[in-house]
Symmetry: C2
Subunit: 313 residues, 2 copies
């Protein structure tokens, strides 16, 4: 599917916001020949200048209105907290029959903040590609970001199945595996697999930072073991993540509650010297990783294959 | 330094325990020609059989006593909780003037449990290579595991500087950068950079596992974002980590206390909708990762270079 030029799925795609996700989408759309034209808009002049310099989108526009004019697909790729304002801004300029989608990490909030702004005759199909890196901005994108990753579509009630099928075809052309899911269920699953882990990583790095000042950089120097993964996660875009937690509040607080409950049980086992409790717990969590590898979602290579291995002979 | 045959640093090295660390040490010692002979011992018959089959050590022994006889370096590479018993077992068989070291993740506890067993005239120099993967066992080792990683030596009071220099030369030959550190300081730094992050990852994976049963595997299916790093960390050897937490109890509980304090502050910011607090916190943690990259401890490649990147043109 990927890497091969295909018939365009849309005549004109407008990317609103030109960060990691939108720029990666553009390179993948270009790779696959999936659109007749791709327009782009970013609020910041500096981002638009960069986009023009590196050829990010076929035509960078100075207003969102200009970017969406005549587009049969509009992709909202801005932080979740900025979705409502962008939707209000573009609504009068949307073409009849156009599809509007988004790439936000939270879905219920986006449905509530974007949906009411869109006019009759426009299809609104929220989406969420489960892919990213810790980098952000227009220069961080690359065509293979979505290859073999999930993209979740969250159609609202009454969505035209044909419009959904077309959006699915785009994401498949981009390289993703597409599934449909209910918005509330999406927000709970992502609270577990992404949002709460990010908050925890942010917290641990903050704690280490405090201590790092005391120990004069040693925490950074010796970060290879375990902490390194946390620092990568905690380097993600602050605006995006602020909005995720503010808009997926209930599910995040629910999972955080479970997390602290379990953490306190382990902490108590450490304090009381209950080695059996710790051993059983760690054995159980080891098994879940095997499940992930068996599900084809990860590699069994040690340290994700990051540590170079050479022949032993 | 690495990859080039050198003059042997020791005549005979005995590896007690043949898991990830000891097996990687052997391949690196062999690569560098750092020992005249390497003997190996593991408590389990199955591990000894595997070691013989794959040529792990020059001579696999059926008792620890046999392995250490005549060795001028003995490496204790067993879980921290097993160190005392092993030390007692080998003590009568140690050669006069031999050096005993270990590779445990906790140092104060090892000093207290191993030191008293060792006879006069034997040098005891605790050590800790900061390297590993989530895999364990005799077949998980590889020669490059320690390349450009830190190895911390924790000499106890009165240690012969010449014996320390010789052990340092071995680890440098293996590929590591060596530093010396006080035992208590080591245990605190590692509680921040490794032990507490591991406990947190174990906890988060446990929570997800509970929920995974409810949502029929979706937590695993959609684990790419954030949670994936946690599952890798939480797949580490259960025995080793049980012992780490039981033996580095005070430092781990201290850091856990700071962690939950900060987590509750962020949780409160989510509950009250304090976006500024979240944004400022996430901006601060992003900066610490830049420090790690600038310190040469990591790559700036997105997602550690795991996501394949292709040319955009």
């Amino acid at each position: 599917m990927t890497g091969v030029a295909q018939a365009p799925v849309y005549n004109r795609i407008a990317l609103i916001g030109l960060g990691l996700i939108a720029s990666s989408m553009f390179w993948a759309i270009q790779r696959g020949g999936l659109a007749g034209e791709v327009t782009g808009y970013a609020r910041s002049q500096a981002t638009r200048d960069t986009a023009r310099r590196i050829g990010l989108t076929d035509r960078v526009c100075d207003t969102a209105a200009e970017a969406v004019a005549g587009a049969d697909l509009v992709v909202l790729a801005v932080p979740v907290g900025a979705m409502a304002a962008v939707a209000a801004e573009i609504a009068p300029h949307l073409a009849k029959g156009a599809t509007v989608t988004d790439v936000g990490s939270v879905k219920r909030s986006v449905i509530e903040s974007v949906g009411p702004h869109l006019p009759e005759g426009v299809h609104f199909i929220p989406g969420h590609p489960l892919a990213g890196t810790e980098h952000s901005g227009p220069e961080s994108g690359f065509a293979t970001l979505f290859d073999n990753r999930w993209c979740l579509l969250v159609p609202v009630e009454g969505t035209d199945p044909q419009a959904t099928a077309r959006l699915r075809a785009l994401w498949e052309g981009i390289g993703s595996n597409v599934e449909e899911m209910d918005a509330d269920h999406h927000d709970l699953v992502l609270a577990v697999t992404s949002h709460t882990p990010h908050l925890i990583a942010y917290t641990m790095v903050g704690v280490a930072d405090d201590l790092g000042r005391v120990t004069d950089g040693e925490v950074i120097k010796y970060s290879a073991a375990g902490f390194r993964d946390f620092t990568r996660i905690a380097a993600s875009d602050p605006t995006m993540w602020r909005d995720v937690f503010l808009t997926n509040k209930d599910a995040t607080l629910e999972i955080l509650g479970r997390f602290t409950e379990e953490l306190f049980a382990l902490q108590r086992a450490i304090r009381t010297g209950d080695g059996d409790h710790l051993f059983d717990y760690f054995t159980r969590t080891r098994a879940i990783r095997r499940g992930i590898i068996e599900a084809g979602q990860d590699t069994a290579a040690p340290d994700f294959g990051r540590t170079p291995q050479v022949s032993k002979s």
